[in-house]
Symmetry: C2
Subunit: 104 residues, 2 copies
């Protein structure tokens, strides 16, 4: 049994794992907002992503969470308040984003 890192599951192309994690129409933009603006809230996020819809954003957030890139935190149950923030792993992607910006 070969041990593989989370970004390299079941293949030998490192970029492919990351690309899969960030695939889909909304994940890159969600991540950018998380990097630029800090904690995100669901409805606010929806309003900041023109053309998006609850379902797709909900799925994107869930997948990013499953990938360990963002975390969902219940801030307050009483007036319901949930926040999505970058995990340490998520913060590790910042240099990659920066590197990409140098290409522009």
């Amino acid at each position: 049994m070969t041990t593989r890192s989370p970004l390299n599951e079941n293949n030998d192309c490192p970029a492919e794992g990351l690309l899969k994690m960030l695939s889909g129409r909304w994940k890159a933009q969600i991540l950018r907002l998380a990097i630029m603006e800090g904690p995100l809230r669901f409805n606010s996020l929806l309003r900041q992503l023109p053309g998006s819809n609850k379902q797709s954003v909900s799925v994107a957030l869930k997948e990013l969470e499953e990938s360990g890139i963002i975390a969902r935190t219940l801030i307050n149950p009483k007036p319901l308040h949930i926040e999505y923030t970058l995990t340490e792993k998520g913060k590790g992607l910042i240099p990659v984003f920066k590197q990409i910006e140098t290409l522009l």
Copy 2:
């Protein structure tokens, strides 16, 4: 009319453009082979991508070419010989791939 860079067409999220260019099941692997092994030939590529098929690889190559990441060159018409190589823009992606590898 606003001028936009090729990696940033019609949006303000730099990673999104790149992600779109590299989206799909085969592009990352094709790029990896182009980076690691140099010039690629169609049938050789097919053999190196288990589970792939002509159609999908053909489309992937065409899209990478349209993105200006690889170039299709006719080496010899007589015994038909075509090569796919990284363009300068394509080579610009190598640091990004390297950066991703540091995450593993």
